[in-house]
Structures are given as structure tokens and as C-alpha cells.
């Protein structure tokens, strides 16, 4: 497999392919500009940029080098902080960070530089929301961020006036790479047929569909998988489209790739998607991974349960359709058979008369894990609840529907008395746990209040109810 290391075509051995990009850079290449802050994808100090060809030319994506296997770079360009300046001629994002005093200790700075570089190259708009979205996965402990926000605004504004870049040479170089399908510890099939062959040949291999959780086993538990099969380049798994019935989302399409499709039907999902990990995580993480991982605190399953998503599973070419709500069996247990994988997630198209909301509760607004995550979908006819689905994450061993709560709502008048009963019914649905994210008491009460918030939000004249939409 080959990738462009800066401008240099570089061939990966099967062993290097299963190393993290960060270890590859620091340990194998002696390129120490990229820093390790946490080795868990939570701080952004190791942010590097991957460029790849798409319809518009080159697209640039910031990723966490610490939890990305190097093999995922095949056919792409890797850009690190050392490559941005030309002698003392610094890239505009570097110059802006210097001019605005955006570094103090400097350890997080290369990560900020690279996140901003990707935004600059993609000509992102210089508004505050966009800057926060771009840099939400980069922690700085020194500056308080104000100078970094100002630097970002200046650099991205400068980009708006800059001439279009000519990426033809890089695109050409990328086209000439031999991407290969891997060997040894790392395989990268390009079709479902190849994937099934690889699974058959290596039944104990781990599938990696983004690896933002899987790779924590490597960096935290020190368990380097013997063999990985990447879904990153399986064509049928990385596409997405919609038809009259459903949104079809390939299991290995990243959050960033599928966001426009999801928001077209479900604009209510915007905040949830923005608060799902960080941009670096959303550039790697996938819907299929989030589901197959079967974590009780995954952010997407509650939403998908409320929307009644279906899964297409594939096992050696045999496919079956299952409703998502039957997929999760117990803590980190699913109905997936050995050798079976999620191929497609089907989300029903938007029904215009429905009201929908997704609310996430966490200690920090950005890049945090849910204490509770509620998803609500309701259809009111003649002031009665004609249909309703309520689902929660963080409240049980698996993401689950709140069936008692739904029962208390369905067919009832949509009023405060019903709301009160439904809020109380949640206690029958969930017996949440105490942990460092939240107490059981808080989880129970706040989840009931999320339903209340949803009710208030559905009123013709909603009260001011969200701090996130209020400043």
C-alpha cells in the first residue's frame, strides 16, 4: 500500500500499516512535531491532516493521529505540521497564531495548526460557529482560546480573498499511488466480495470502521490486534443515498460524510452531530461503528431508535434486515453472528407531521460522552398523541426505547397531565447507574425533564428553554 507522505510516495509494510499514524511519525520517522497528549483522541495535540481526492478536487480532513492506523492512509496524502512552512515563510494559519499570541506552552499548538490548516484548505467560512466546530477537538490548557479564535477568524478571512489553489499536481500524484489491499496484520478490501473473502480467510481478525473506540484497546489496554480488516475502502459500505422510502447509509461512511444527508431530512439532528466527539472523530467515526460497538453511551443509537432505523446485515453474502431495536442484546452484545457485519443503515424518510428532538446531557458541551441522551419523535393529531417513540442512551446497559413512557403517551391528550404521567413512567423503563459522569438520581430526573423540554418545545409559543440556543 502506498500513501503520499507530504509530497513523497511512501510504501507501507503490513506491520507499519497497523501502527498508529502517531507512532509511525514519532517512532519510525523521527518526525516529532506531532505531539502525543492523551493517546485516546480526546485532546487533539496529535492532529494531522489527510487529503484525498473527491468530486471537487482535494478535500482536507483533520484526524487524530494517535487512534488512526497508518494503513488508513493508503491512497491519500498525509500532511504534518513540519510541512506547512517554507523556510521562514509561514503558512497563514501559522502566522495568524503567532500574530495573535495563540500559543503559550506550545504543546497543543501543532494540533491547532493542523485543524486550522484543514479548514483553511477547505476554504471554510470564518464565522465563530464554524471556528468552534473546527477546533472543538483541540484542547488548550494555557490560553483560554480567545487568541486562537481570533487567529482562526483572521486566517480564514484571509483565505476567502486568496486565489484558488492548484492541487492538480497532488491529485496526479495521488492517482499514481498503488493503494493495494494490504497484507499481514492489515487488510483493506475494496468491495464486499473482497471483504467477505478476507473475513473467511481470517475469521479472528478485527473489523475497523473508523477505529475511534477500537484503537483505545491499543493505546490504553496495550492490546494490539493481531490482524485488522479495514472497512474504510469497501465501496458499498462507504456510500450513501436516499430514495423515496429511506436514507441508505453505508456502515463505513463517516459522520462528516453523511451529515448533509441526515440534516436534509432531520435538521433537528444538527446539535447532536456537532456534539458527537469532535471534528477529528467525526472525520473518522462511522454510523456502523457506533452501532456495532454497542456501547450504552453511543450518541447515535437513541436517535436511530426513535427514528425506527433498520439494519442490513451481511454474512458471507447472505443479507438480512433487522430493526435496530432488536440489534442490541446486552452490554456490548449484539445479534451479529461470527463473520457478520453491518452493511447499511436504513433510516425512514421524514414524515412532515412529526415533531422530533434529540437532547444530550454531558458535563461539557463539546467532545464529551453523554450522561443521558434522549431522542423524541411524536405525531399529534387532534391534540392526541397518534404515535410516539422515545429512546435513551446512558440510561441502561444498552441504548433502548422507553416503552412504558411511550405507552403513557400513546393515544392520550398531549397536555401537562399526560406529560407528568409519562415522565413518571420513565422510572419503570430505566434503572440508571451511578458513575463518574452522573448519579443515578440525576440521570433519572434529567431524563424525565428532557421529555418535559420536548413537550415545551412542541408548544405553539415555546418558552425560552435551551441555553445552547440562547446567549
Amino acid at each position: 500500500m502506498q500513501f503520499l507522505f507530504g509530497q513523497i510516495p511512501t510504501t507501507l509494510s503490513g506491520d507499519d500499516a497497523s501502527l498508529s499514524v502517531l507512532d509511525f511519525l514519532r517512532e519510525r520517522q523521527g518526525r516529532c512535531g506531532t505531539k502525543e497528549g492523551c493517546a485516546s483522541g480526546d485532546c487533539g495535540a496529535c492532529t494531522v491532516v489527510v487529503a484525498e481526492t473527491d468530486d471537487a478536487g482535494l478535500s482536507y480532513r483533520a484526524i487524530n493521529a494517535c487512534i488512526t492506523p497508518t494503513g488508513e492512509l493508503a491512497g491519500k496524502q498525509l500532511i504534518t505540521v513540519e510541512e506547512l512552512a517554507n523556510g521562514e515563510d509561514y503558512h497563514p494559519v501559522q502566522q495568524a497564531l503567532v500574530d495573535f499570541h495563540g500559543s503559550q506552552c506550545g504543546f497543543c499548538t501543532p494540533g491547532f495548526v493542523m485543524s486550522l490548516y484543514a479548514a483553511y484548505q477547505n476554504a471554510e467560512a470564518p464565522d465563530r460557529d464554524n471556528i468552534l466546530r473546527t477546533l472543538g477537538g483541540n484542547l488548550c490548557r494555557c490560553t483560554g482560546y480567545r487568541p486562537i479564535i481570533d487567529a482562526a477568524e483572521a486566517a480564514l478571512t484571509e483565505r476567502q480573498a486568496a486565489p484558488q489553489q492548484d492541487d492538480a499536481e497532488t491529485i496526479d500524484q495521488l492517482a499514481q499511488l498503488e493503494s493495494g489491499t494490504g497484507s499481514g496484520r492489515y487488510h483493506a478490501p475494496t468491495s464486499i466480495a473482497e471483504l467477505n473473502d478476507a473475513i473467511k480467510a481470517h475469521p479472528k481478525a478485527r473489523l475497523i470502521a473508523g477505529g475511534t473506540d477500537l484503537w483505545l484497546e491499543v493505546t490504553q489496554l496495550l492490546k494490539r490486534p493481531e490482524r485488522l480488516i479495514s472497512l474504510n475502502r469497501v465501496e458499498e459500505l462507504t456510500g450513501h443515498h436516499s430514495d423515496g422510502n429511506a436514507l441508505h447509509i453505508g456502515a463505513a461512511a463517516t459522520y462528516e460524510q453523511v451529515t448533509p444527508l441526515l440534516l436534509a431530512d432531520y435538521p433537528e439532528m444538527q446539535e447532536l452531530l456537532l456534539r458527537l466527539g469532535s471534528l477529528q472523530i467525526r472525520n473518522r467515526g462511522t454510523l456502523g461503528g457506533n452501532i456495532a460497538n454497542a456501547s450504552p453511551i453511543g450518541d447515535m443509537p437513541p436517535a436511530l431508535l426513535a427514528l425506527d432505523a433498520q439494519l442490513v446485515l451481511n454474512r458471507q453474502g447472505q443479507t438480512r434486515h433487522v430493526p435496530l431495536e432488536t440489534f442490541f442484546q446486552d452490554y456490548r452484545k449484539t445479534i451479529l453472528q461470527p463473520g457478520e457485519f453491518i452493511q447499511t443503515i436504513l433510516i425512514p424518510r421524514r414524515q412532515p407531521e412529526e415533531q422530533i428532538a434529540f437532547y444530550k446531557i454531558s458535563k461539557r458541551l463539546e467532545d464529551d460522552i453523554s450522561a443521558s441522551c434522549g431522542a423524541f419523535r411524536i405525531r399529534i393529531e387532534d391534540d392526541q398523541v397518534a404515535d410516539v417513540r422515545v429512546a435513551f442512551g446512558g440510561m441502561a446497559a444498552i441504548p433502548a426505547r422507553a416503552l412504558h413512557c411511550e405507552e403513557a403517551l400513546r393515544g392520550q391528550a398531549w397536555n401537562e397531565a399526560t406529560l407528568k404521567t409519562a415522565m413518571a413512567a420513565l422510572a419503570e423503563d430505566f434503572q440508571p447507574i451511578d458513575d463518574f459522569r452522573a448519579s443515578a438520581d440525576y440521570r433519572g430526573k434529567v431524563s424525565a425533564n428532557l421529555l418535559k423540554r420536548f413537550y415545551l418545545n412542541c408548544q405553539p409559543k415555546p418558552d425560552l428553554i435551551r441555553v445552547s440556543s440562547h446567549a
Binding site: Q94, S103, C108, V113, L139, K363, I465
Partner: protein, 780 residues
């Protein structure tokens, strides 16, 4: 008598003191060229060390079987306490911190052994293979458990003035309350790391991420049982420290050095993040109780406060930290009759250590909590209560409860400035209206002051040294005992030298802090970096300037007062030459162009027996006005706007100072909002990585964030160019956010009931406070 300040010329050489100047490493930061210890190219043959951590909070080690560690792939050495040739105890001030545990472990995460291997992965992997059996002992994990056991790492201390109990009794109104304050993880982005390289003379060169190279040097020498002159510690920069590398860097340097001495090869030891957070100390959690008596106007007549710091398993720096909490239990307020006691509670958790503010924040939050309670009890606005209680030069209200007379009174001026510039009263009114109209969302507002004492309270630490070389091309090399952790110390000190010698800043090369260049240094801590090292560097620069002046006078046959330095030039009577030409000429005429500098802070003393004295050379002031919106359905909140005015005296570098203020504020806000440390009943820290421990992210920065340096306010003490320290004081501006959150909660009962809101005020804590106050209001 107020002395007239030396004013800084704004037309001096480029980059001299007083000018906005970028961080000396700014370009290296953004290009990835700045080297941190883990980036230094390792010499061939470098091996990697890792540590095995205890899995019990308090236990006897009944069996220690390291055979699987020894036989693991790539392992070349394994050491335990008995392999230490010199001192086993590396306690920085008092004993109590073994390099490695011997028969007993005292906290979950204590180092039991260390392993050396060919690669980092091998060492880390091997460290998990130990078979250790523990015979558990009873463990105190929480501060309450420690208090119940009457278990302390050091004796309590008490500061008294008058008769507090009598004064409280005689007051129109008396109130009591308590407050739990959580600790805080430093969360420096660069974790703990050391690289030890054996030297031909049996000595050791140690690259360490340490705020206190001299102490690291001393402890490495003691552990290896060699003289200090054989150990050199170098620190070019740290990727953040915040106090977490003041004493807590030593252990890793000592272990790396010991393994390097045994193997004869260079050894690197770098902690993975979760182990770093587990095995190193944090800001002390506190439990504070108070009783206060006030008159009808809300003026404090007497107060008794008990401040209890959770010190963890050993003293470390806790004596000075709890002292500093006590020194700041008044913040900016005259307390009248006061009885302040400070307790150093021992628990079976990691030994808590320095963190920006060093106990000051916990003492200051205690009194701000009292002030807010007084406001609710009296029905006054908190700002009114604050202003009525400020220290002042009039009416005998200018002396602290520990006997220091305050000479420069700035707090009333700063608060008034903010009150007007940020529209406190109109906003208070509009918030009242907003709250009256909204059931779910509530706003809160708070304007809180900071008065922070500057100096190490351990008097002997208030000294510094510097070393300055001028070369024959007129370029200058600067070295001093202070370390660079991002705070901009290096650039500030270089600016001071540029000012003294009247040369452009670019002429001065800043070099790594090394114990063989400037010996016996103090930690870069207590906000003292530029006060101490700036003065020492100026002393060295003045020595050289004097030598050059005398030489030029004699060479050109003019009086010494005819020699002047300005803008890279030197004039001697009618003769004019460049600084470089003079350096060259001086060399040819055998004038020494290298000098050391030294400084010791004057005036300070503290009598612990009498609990009285002048522990601080001066005070730095500031104030912040914060506005929040709280969602009372969930406890979630946002910070809408912050306005800050900070006294930095005559700023050495306004750009750097503003950076310290903004960063300190956000860090203080994090301590009191989202940063929650959670220990399990077994003593294991559950929030041991940035996935579970949440420091502020970029979206937590308020959309309106105004920071002003108090203008025209030089330090009245003779500090370096009459500047003031800026490292720690702004952290406590974050208290305004906590007070604003409490204000929003209190609005649910029209400010008639005191909310119970502990720190950190996570969304959950805020929600629970909302629930409790609603319930209480209903019952009332």
C-alpha cells in the same frame, strides 16, 4: 512614601521591556520545531522505563512477584525500593514520599517497581505483568473520613485577631455554612517525562519537564548517592505545568536516572496520560466551614473559618498550600475579629500538590461564599456587600488577619471601573426582568474581586540568580534560574536585559535553564518567575553595563556620566559607537564580558508562632464580572459574557500578560464548573483521562470576553520596572462564574434562600441546587 516609578521608554530598542512582544518560541511552536523532552533525539542505545502502580489505596504488600515482568520481551532491568543506593524518600520539604513503595502502599497508583526495556511499548507492557498481593488496611479516601480519623500530615495552624466568637455573638446577624470544594487536575498537555543520560564521570545529565530543576538535581543526586555537582538538570521548556511539575516531576527523573546509572545507557521515562493523572498530585480538595457575624449594613464584625485541605498521603507542599488558603481567606475584605484555622488532612489518595494559586483559590472561594450568603441574609446586592467590606486605607481597615498592613489599595478602584464599564447595575435590572419572565432559563451575575499575595511564603525561596554573556560580536546569551512553561518568562526576562543594555531583543539568545549555569535556584512558582529572575538578570546586565561604562569612560577619556546607552548605540562624550563595537573593544582591552546576577526579595517575614508578619512583598489585584444563563430543567448553563480588569503594575509585556489573564480565568472557571475528580470507594481515581475529566474546550470561552489591564498603576514596591506578577492571580477571577451560577439558582427563590452549591458546579450540581431550592421555597 510612594516612590516615583521608573517609567519605561516607549521608544527604546525593539522588543525592550514594556512592549507587546510575541512568545520567544512562537514560530517554533507553530512549526513543530519546539523540542519537548520526548522530542529530543535519543542517543543510540536509549532504553525506556515504565512504572508499576499499586492497585490498592492502603495495604501491606504480602507478595511481590516480578518474575513475569523480568522475563517479558525486551526487559533488561527491574527495580524496587531496595535497589535504591541513596535516599529512598524524595519528599521535597518533609519526608513521606518514597521513590517506590517498600512494604506498604499508601494510595492507589503509587509506584511499586520500575522496569527497563528496549522499547516504550515493551516497558509499558511488562509493567502490567506483576503479580502483587495485598493485605488491605483500612483506608480514608474522602476528607470527611480523614477528619473523622483525626489523621493529619502536618499540625494545624491558626491565625487570630481579637475575639471572633464574641464579635459574632454580639452581631446583629450571624450566619453559618459549609462548602465542599473539589480538587483539580493540572492536565498539562505534555505529560511527565524525563531523559537521563549517564556521563563519563559517573554523573548524570537529566532532561526533565520540571519547574524546579535544582530540586530535581538534588533528589537525583541523593537517590544515586552522588554529590550534586555530578548531576546536571536541563529544562528548555515544558508543555504546561501549572504547579504539577513543581515537585511531581522529581520522581520520574530519579527513576530514569537510577535505571540509567544501573544500565549505563540513556533512559527515558514518560508516563501515559491515565497513569500520569493517577500517579501525580492535584489541587487540594477542601472542606470549609464558617460562622460570621455582620451588622445591619452587611459589614463583617467577626468570622471564624475552618479550612481543611485534603492533602493525600504525604505532606509534599501541603503545609504552605493550606497556609496560603488561610492567607487568602480574607480575599479583599477586612474581616474584623477573625479566627482562621487550617487543617492538613491525611487521606489514602495521591499526595496533592501545587496548582496555580496554591491554596489561595480555596481560601478565596470560602470567603466569596460567605459574602454571597451575607447578601442573601441581608437582602443586599452581593456587590454592595463586597464594596462595604473591602479593605481601605481609612478607618483602620487596612490590616489583614495575619498582621500585614496593606499599602496599595486598588480593589475599590478596579471594581468601580468594571461596575461602570460593564454596566453592572443596568444589567442587574435587566436580569431581574428576564428571570421574572422565564421559568426554565435563569440568568445570574457576579462581580468578584481578587487580592493575591505575591512571594513564596517560605521566605528562603525568594531568591534568584542569572548569568549573562556578551560575545565579541555584541550578541548576548542569557540564562537564569526560571523555567519556561508557556507563561512567557523567557521573553520577559530577555526584554528586561534588552532594556538595561539598550539593545534590540533579537540580539539576545535565550538558553535552556540548567543547574550548571545558575545553581541553587527556586522553583518557578508562586507567580514569582519574572519578579525574581527579572531582577537577577537586570543585576547581571547592570554589572556588565557598569563595566562597559567605566571602560568607555577611561578609553575615551570622559567622565562616566558622559557614557550613555541608547538604541543599540553607546555614546562616550562625543564618541559614538555601536554596542557590538564597544563589546569588541572591551574584549581587546581585557574587560570581563560575563556576569552573574542575584536578587533576594526584601521586607518579607512571617512569624509562625505568632501567626503574624508580612509574608507578601505586595498584592496583585483584579476583578471579573461574569454573566451566565442556567437551564433549570437540566442544570446546563452557558457563560454569556465576561469583563475583567487586572492590575499587573506596569506591564513588562502586555500581550503576554493578557494571555495569562485570559488563560488563568478559563482555567479557574474549569476548576469550578466542568472539572470533576471522582474517586471510587476503593481509592481509584475514575476520572483519569481527558475522556472522563473535562477541562474547558473552545466553546466554553465566552462570546464576549473583555480584558483590560488596569492603566497607570505601577507597583508601589520596587519590583522589576514596577511590574506585578500575573501567573496565578487571574485564576481566581473564575470564581465570578461560580458566584454567577449560584446567583442564577438563588433567583428561583427571589434570593431569599441560600443555595447549596458545592464546587465544581457541574450541570448535575446546578440542577440539584435548583431542585433543592425550589423544594425549600415551596415549603417556606
Amino acid at each position: 512614601m510612594r516612590r516615583l516609578p521608573e517609567t519605561l521608554e516607549t521608544t527604546g530598542p525593539t522588543g525592550a521591556a514594556g512592549q507587546h512582544q510575541r512568545h520567544d518560541s512562537a514560530y517554533r511552536h507553530v512549526s513543530g520545531a519546539a523540542l519537548y523532552v520526548d522530542d529530543i533525539p535519543c542517543p543510540a542505545g536509549t532504553k525506556h522505563a515504565y512504572v508499576g502502580l499499586s492497585q490498592h489505596a492502603h495495604a501491606n504488600i504480602s507478595k511481590l512477584d516480578l518474575s513475569a515482568v523480568r522475563t517479558a520481551s525486551g526487559v533488561t532491568d527491574v527495580i524496587t525500593a531496595q535497589d535504591v543506593p541513596g535516599h529512598l524518600d524524595i519528599g521535597p520539604v518533609f519526608p513521606g514520599d518514597p521513590l517506590m513503595a517498600s512494604d506498604q502502599v499508601d494510595f492507589f497508583g503509587q509506584v511499586v517497581f520500575a522496569v527497563l526495556a528496549n522499547t516504550y511499548d515493551q516497558a509499558r507492557h511488562a509493567a502490567r505483568l506483576a503479580n502483587i498481593q495485598y493485605a488491605p488496611l483500612s483506608a480514608d479516601i474522602t476528607i470527611e473520613q480523614g477528619l473523622d480519623s483525626k489523621s493529619f500530615v502536618r499540625p494545624s495552624h491558626r491565625q487570630q485577631r481579637g475575639d471572633a466568637q464574641e464579635a459574632i455573638k454580639a452581631s446583629a446577624l450571624s450566619i453559618q455554612g459549609e462548602l465542599q470544594i473539589g480538587g483539580q487536575e493540572q492536565m498539562y498537555l505534555e505529560g511527565q517525562v524525563s531523559l537521563a543520560i549517564p556521563q563519563e564521570d559517573g554523573g548524570m545529565l537529566v532532561h526533565s519537564s520540571s519547574q524546579h530543576p535544582s530540586e530535581t538535581q538534588k533528589l537525583v543526586a541523593e537517590v544515586l548517592d552522588i554529590p550534586m555537582h555530578l548531576v546536571t538538570v536541563e529544562v528548555r521548556r515544558m508543555g504546561g505545568a501549572f504547579g504539577g511539575k513543581e515537585t511531581n516531576a522529581n520522581q520520574w527523573a530519579c527513576i530514569a536516572a537510577l535505571l540509567a546509572a544501573r544500565s549505563g545507557t540513556p533512559v527515558k521515562l514518560r508516563l501515559a496520560r491515565a497513569d500520569d493523572i493517577t500517579a501525580t498530585g492535584k489541587r487540594h480538595p477542601f472542606k470549609n466551614d464558617y460562622q460570621v457575624g455582620v451588622n445591619d449594613a452587611g459589614v463583617i464584625q467577626g468570622i471564624a473559618m475552618s479550612l481543611s485541605g485534603n492533602c493525600g498521603m504525604s505532606p509534599d507542599l501541603s503545609d504552605a498550600i493550606v497556609d496560603r488558603a488561610m492567607f487568602h481567606a480574607d480575599n479583599a475584605y477586612y474581616l474584623g475579629h477573625a479566627d482562621i484555622s487550617g487543617h492538613r488532612v491525611k487521606t489514602n489518595t495521591v499526595s496533592h500538590t501545587a496548582f496555580r494559586g496554591f491554596g489561595g483559590p480555596q481560601g478565596m472561594l470560602a470567603i466569596e461564599h460567605v459574602i454571597e450568603d451575607i447578601a442573601i441574609a441581608t437582602g443586599l446586592d452581593p456587590l454592595t456587600v463586597r464594596k462595604r467590606n473591602f479593605y481601605s486605607g481609612e478607618g483602620g481597615r487596612d490590616t489583614t488577619h495575619y498582621g500585614q498592613q496593606i499599602e496599595q489599595h486598588l480593589i475599590a478602584q478596579i471594581v468601580e471601573r468594571l461596575e461602570h464599564s460593564a454596566d453592572y447595575w443596568p444589567r442587574r435590572e435587566s436580569i431581574k426582568t428576564f428571570n421574572a419572565q422565564n421559568n426554565v432559563l435563569r440568568k445570574g451575575l457576579a462581580l468578584t474581586p481578587v487580592k493575591f499575595g505575591i512571594s513564596f511564603t517560605v521566605t528562603h525561596l525568594n531568591q534568584a540568580g542569572a548569568l549573562l554573556h556578551v560575545y565579541t560580536d555584541g550578541s548576548i546569551q542569557l540564562n537564569h534560574g526560571g523555567t519556561e512553561m508557556g507563561q512567557g518568562l523567557y521573553i520577559k526576562v530577555a526584554q528586561i536585559v534588552a532594556q538595561e543594555l539598550q539593545v534590540d531583543l533579537e540580539r539576545i539568545a535565550i538558553t535552556a535553564t540548567r543547574t550548571d549555569k545558575v545553581p541553587n535556584t527556586s522553583p518557578t512558582a508562586a507567580s514569582s518567575g519574572s519578579d525574581l529572575n527579572g531582577m537577577a538578570a537586570r543585576d547581571a546586565a547592570r554589572t556588565i553595563r557598569e563595566r562597559l561604562t567605566l571602560f568607555a569612560a577611561s578609553h575615551f577619556n570622559v567622565d562616566a556620566d558622559q557614557v550613555s546607552f541608547a538604541d543599540n548605540q553607546v555614546r562616550a562624550g562625543d564618541n559614538k559607537l555601536s554596542f557590538a563595537e564597544l563589546a569588541q573593544l572591551a574584549y581587546l582591552n581585557r574587560v570581563q564580558l560575563s556576569a552573574t546576577g542575584y536578587y533576594a526579595t526584601p521586607k518579607i517575614h512571617y512569624d509562625r508562632e505568632k501567626a503574624s508578619g508580612r509574608p507578601f512583598f505586595y498584592y496583585a489585584y483584579g476583578a471579573a464580572l461574569s454573566e451566565v444563563t442556567v437551564d433549570t430543567l437540566t442544570g446546563e448553563y452557558v457563560l454569556n459574557r465576561v469583563d475583567i480588569c487586572q492590575d499587573v503594575g506596569q506591564s513588562l509585556n502586555p500581550a503576554i500578560d493578557i494571555g495569562q489573564i485570559e488563560g488563568g480565568f478559563i482555567q479557574g472557571m474549569g476548576w469550578l464548573t466542568t472539572e470533576e475528580l471522582v474517586w471510587g470507594a476503593d481509592g481509584r481515581l475514575q476520572t483519569n483521562n481527558p475522556a472522563s475529566y473535562k477541562i474547558p474546550a473552545i466553546g466554553d470561552t465566552p462570546p464576549v470576553f473583555n480584558v483590560e489591564l488596569l492603566p497607570d498603576s505601577p507597583n508601589t514596591e520596587a519590583t522589576i520596572f514596577h511590574s506585578k506578577a500575573v501567573g496565578e492571580p487571574p485564576l481566581m477571577l473564575g470564581i465570578s462564574v461560580w458566584c454567577a451560577l449560584r446567583d442564577a439558582v438563588a433567583s428561583l427563590a427571589e434570593h431569599r434562600i441560600r443555595p447549596r452549591l458545592n464546587a465544581p458546579a457541574t450541570a448535575e450540581q446546578v440542577f440539584m441546587a435548583c431542585e433543592a431550592i425550589r423544594e425549600e421555597a415551596q415549603q417556606a
